[in-house]
């Protein structure tokens, strides 16, 4: 196209110069020229404008980038502060005591922070957390996977549109409301109908945690199974498999990493949950024995932090110990998170290959 000259005002020597304005008064001419200039701004920028645009663009981009790094900063701050407040627990006694402290923390089942000779053994708390989480998963995984299968493969479109909001509302109910339900409704029911001596126990907490982990498990596993292509299913049907056989032998194996990620995310939800276990688990810090007796009271890491922190003076040994429990929890969920991300990445990559 060559040079596209549209700016009469800036280019008075051009071929169109002056022509349309010969009859107009001076003032009107000025106004018209200004309007024309505004209307036909150059698409080609001068060097300085170009530079300004470049700088502004990059500056804006950098500002946006900096804002985006808030999340990174938040993660680092969380780790930094939790570690900072947890470290004194190990280091106060000097070099030799560090190992002893670590050993006490992870192997001693006695959590007696306010005794005259305080013991900070978190084993019972860790076991308690894992115990209710396992109890929750035993219920939530089969139910959640079946529901995920139902939503991805079995339910017709209209039914799915009804089921999804139900699951979303299940996820929307705040954890403290579930805890309230556990204490006020479920615990008395367990006590009167199943004859437990106390309604707030591991069974109660596990059941509620299962309900809370369900939405996560369902939605992630449903995504994983929907992502398994239609062709694979059709190939299976073409070989004469029934729907159940297709799902069990083809869809689930193909989506296994996503399904595993769903289970891990559900597990994270259960292990990091505070209010429900605080309210419903009975808060007795001991390792359940016999292990299968769900009617015993247990205590989890989260509930210990929530329950003890309010009565702990700042910078006391107990305070640092609670941060150490928090750090353990953080590292635990962090590694689970990495694992789930790895699995989801794998699932995505597998999808990409097809």
């Amino acid at each position: 196209m060559g040079n596209f000259k549209s700016d009469q005002y800036k280019d008075p020597d051009g071929e169109f110069a002056g022509e349309p304005m010969t009859e107009v008064s001076v003032q009107g001419e000025k106004r018209n020229r200004k309007a024309a200039a505004e209307f036909t701004r150059p698409l080609l920028l001068s060097a300085s404008q170009d530079l300004a645009g470049y700088v502004m663009g990059h500056l804006g981009r950098t500002i946006l980038f900096l804002i985006t790094t808030t999340s990174v900063a938040a993660v680092f701050l969380i780790f930094y502060f939790v570690i900072r407040e947890a470290l004194p627990f190990f280091t106060t006694g000097g070099g030799a005591a560090i190992l002893a402290r670590v050993r006490e923390f992870f192997t001693d089942p006695g959590w007696y922070p306010v005794a005259t000779e305080p013991r900070y053994g978190a084993l019972a708390l860790i076991v308690g957390s894992l115990y209710v989480t396992a109890g929750a998963l035993v219920v939530a995984v089969p139910v959640g996977l079946l529901a995920g299968v139902f939503l991805s493969d079995i339910a017709p479109f209209g039914l799915r549109q009804i089921c999804k909001p139900v699951i979303e509302i299940l996820a929307a109910i705040p954890s403290v409301a579930y805890g309230f339900f556990a204490v006020m409704v479920l615990a008395p029911w367990l006590q009167t109908h199943l004859g437990f001596s106390s309604g707030t126990n591991a069974l109660n907490a596990s059941l509620i945690l299962a309900v809370m982990a369900l939405p996560t498990i369902i939605s992630v596993s449903e995504d994983a199974m929907t992502a398994v292509g239609r062709e694979i299913r059709e190939a299976s049907y073409g070989l004469g498999a029934t729907r159940a056989e297709t799902i069990v032998n083809v869809v689930i194996p193909a989506g296994h990493s996503g399904i595993l990620a769903a289970v891990i995310l559900g597990m994270m939800r259960a292990i990091g949950e505070t209010m429900v276990v605080w309210m419903a688990s009975g808060n007795a810090s001991r390792i359940p024995s016999p292990w299968w007796d769900l009617s015993q009271s247990i205590r989890t890491m989260t509930a210990t932090i929530a329950g003890d922190m309010g009565e702990t003076p700042k910078n006391s040994e107990h305070y640092f110990a609670l941060f150490t429990v928090g750090l353990t929890l953080l590292l635990f969920t962090f590694s689970l998170n990495l694992l789930s991300e790895y699995l989801l990445g794998k699932a995505k990559a597998g999808r990409g290959k097809r």
Binding site: I67, F81, V143, A147, C163, S175, F180, M184, E273, M309
Partner: protein, 553 residues
């Protein structure tokens, strides 16, 4: 055969998976129905005249005239009950009578002093009065009817003694007269039994109708009124009409509950009529009527949630969530826009994405620990648990939710929109601001609403950073204060607050008085669920409209 088996297995699998969904829906109902069913009774219930009295005293609500008329009606119905109770208790519970007799004796002495009785007469009169008093006290303290009647007769013989004429001592004879009437009807040999039961009856009547006339006003509001709600009134009525006893059937056997009608316990006494009277005059005594107490959502509570509503809790939750959104929305939406529109596939972006995922997976209690260590302990300007610290903690928690939802929404804007804008000469930033973000608006709004509901329901992050179970309502100051000191406009940021989420915990587990008022407990939890579920339903509706629009219908 094999085909049949496979078919059955297939059907079974389908049924099982459908069953799982049904189970989940059932779980939702099992959770929601009792919460809403019992929670709604905090708002819609049958009030009694006591409730109207309470409202008038606490908030000045209600029509004075109507209330006065209702109270007069109720008072007229209550009067005979009080009289019956008083007369009977005088017969059974003679301790006050004994005390009264001693008082009369003292008054008589003062009376003699006042009339300047000569000294020898004085001691003579006092001696006579003392004899009468002792006779009366003996009669009062005796459980044997014969002794009582004889003693009283002996006292009454002194009635015409000129020594006592027109003096306070005449009260002796009035008392003797009254007591004689009672002693003739009541079986005094069961006095101890009657006395114990009478105390229970009196307590039940206090529960039902409020403090008895003549009693000192109790210090707690909850004791100053009778049953304010019909359900509580029925409970009190049950305690009034029936005695619940736990009887041991021998060693080692469990206790057995036995219910005895009070009417039978008091058979043959004047009090027997009281129970029929309460039943007959039930409506007049309490004047129950339906009430929709919408002020539950704005009222403050009294006496640890025994009366009142959840207004400050709702206010606190709104302040916390809105403040946290003020921080989280700009950060989250900008982050999402950057990630979608500008970010390439560099290492940095991978790290950012990983951090967002990590942030989403951090347990809420760890957020609480972080908020405590960072906002409360480290940042000196905050320095103590307050709304600012709590809402900043919540904003970090809400950040990944907003980023993910906004990212998805921005990604869903068709590429043609952007291309059209770019073709018109708009730059990348202008396209983002004027085309992509508005088009993604409803989707972003959905994400914001969801994170709002998440933030409103969270308890653990605010436990140590700014929430209290009991405390003052955040004060915003007044316009004149703002003019004087603009900083006071933000004073509420540095106060702790109550919140629905922590309130639901405290009212269920921590608080002892509220256990007497289950409707209050369920009401608080219902309000919280109502708030979060309503936000979610709004998000679902917006999204379904959006998807319809995107499908082009």
């Amino acid at each position: 055969m094999r085909t049949l088996l496979r078919q059955i297995l297939d059907k079974g699998f389908t049924t099982a998976s459908a069953g799982a969904v049904v189970l989940i829906a059932a779980a939702l109902l099992v959770v929601l129905i009792p919460m809403f069913g019992r929670g709604i009774t905090a708002v819609v219930f049958t009030e009694t005249v006591e409730f109207r009295r309470l409202e008038k005293d606490l908030h000045g609500r209600g029509d004075n005239e109507h209330l006065a008329r209702a109270l007069a009606d109720a008072g007229a119905a209550r009067e005979p009950i009080y009289t019956m109770l008083r007369e009977f208790s005088e017969g059974i519970d003679t301790e006050p009578l004994v005390k009264q007799a001693r008082d009369v004796y003292q008054k008589y002495g003062e009376y003699l002093n006042y009339h300047n009785t000569p000294k020898e007469q004085y001691s003579e009169y006092r001696k006579q009065a003392k004899d009468v008093r002792d006779g009366l006290v003996d009669a009062l303290e005796s459980d044997d009817r014969q002794t009582v009647l004889e003693g009283l007769d002996a006292v009454l013989k002194e009635k015409d003694n000129p020594v006592f004429a027109d003096s306070p001592a005449m009260e002796f004879f009035a008392m003797a007269q009254r007591y004689k009437k009672i002693a003739e009807t009541v079986d005094l040999s069961h006095r101890a039994e009657y006395l114990a039961n009478l105390q229970e009856v009196t307590a039940a009547i206090r529960q039902l109708l409020g403090p008895l006339p003549g009693e000192a006003t109790p210090p707690l509001w909850m004791d100053q009124y009778g049953a304010t709600r019909l359900d509580m009134a029925l409970k009190a009525k049950q305690a009034l009409l029936y005695d619940e006893q736990w009887i041991s059937e021998g060693p080692g056997k469990p206790m057995v509950k036995k219910i005895v009608a009070r009417k039978e316990q008091f058979a043959g006494t004047p009090l027997e009529l009281l129970f029929d009277r309460v039943e007959a005059d039930w409506d007049k005594l309490l004047q129950p009527r339906l009430r929709i107490y919408w002020q539950y959502f704005i009222d403050d509570w009294v006496n640890s949630h025994y009366f009142g509503g959840v207004g400050p809790e709702i206010l606190g939750t709104l302040l916390l969530t809105l403040m946290s959104m003020c921080v989280a929305i700009p950060l989250g939406v900008i982050s999402a826009a950057y990630l979608v529109e500008y970010a390439g596939d560099t290492v940095w972006i991978k790290i950012i994405r990983m951090c967002i995922n990590t942030l989403a997976g951090v347990p809420s209690i760890v957020y609480g620990l972080f908020g405590l260590a960072f906002f409360v302990v480290t940042i000196g300007a905050i320095g103590k648990p307050c709304i600012l610290a709590a809402s900043l903690t919540l904003s970090i928690l809400a950040l990944p939710v907003i980023i993910r939802a906004s990212e998805e929404a921005i990604r869903a804007v068709p590429q043609t929109y952007r291309e059209a804008s770019l073709a018109l000469g708009a730059g990348k930033f202008r396209t983002l601001l004027l085309v992509t973000l508005p088009a993604a608006g409803p989707g972003i709004l959905t994400g914001i609403i969801l994170s709002l509901s998440r933030a409103a329901g969270e308890t653990a992050p605010i436990l140590f950073t700014g929430v209290v179970a009991m405390g003052p309502i955040p004060s915003f100051g007044s316009p004149s204060q703002w003019l004087e000191n603009p900083g006071s406009l933000f004073g509420w940021l540095f106060q702790p607050t109550r919140a629905l989420s922590y309130g639901s915990y405290d009212i269920a587990v921590g608080d002892r008085i509220s256990m007497l008022a289950p409707h209050q407990q369920f009401g608080m939890a219902m309000t919280l669920i109502l708030l979060t579920v309503a936000l979610n339903v709004a998000a679902i509706v917006i999204r379904s409209r959006l998807s319809r629009k995107l499908r082009g219908c």
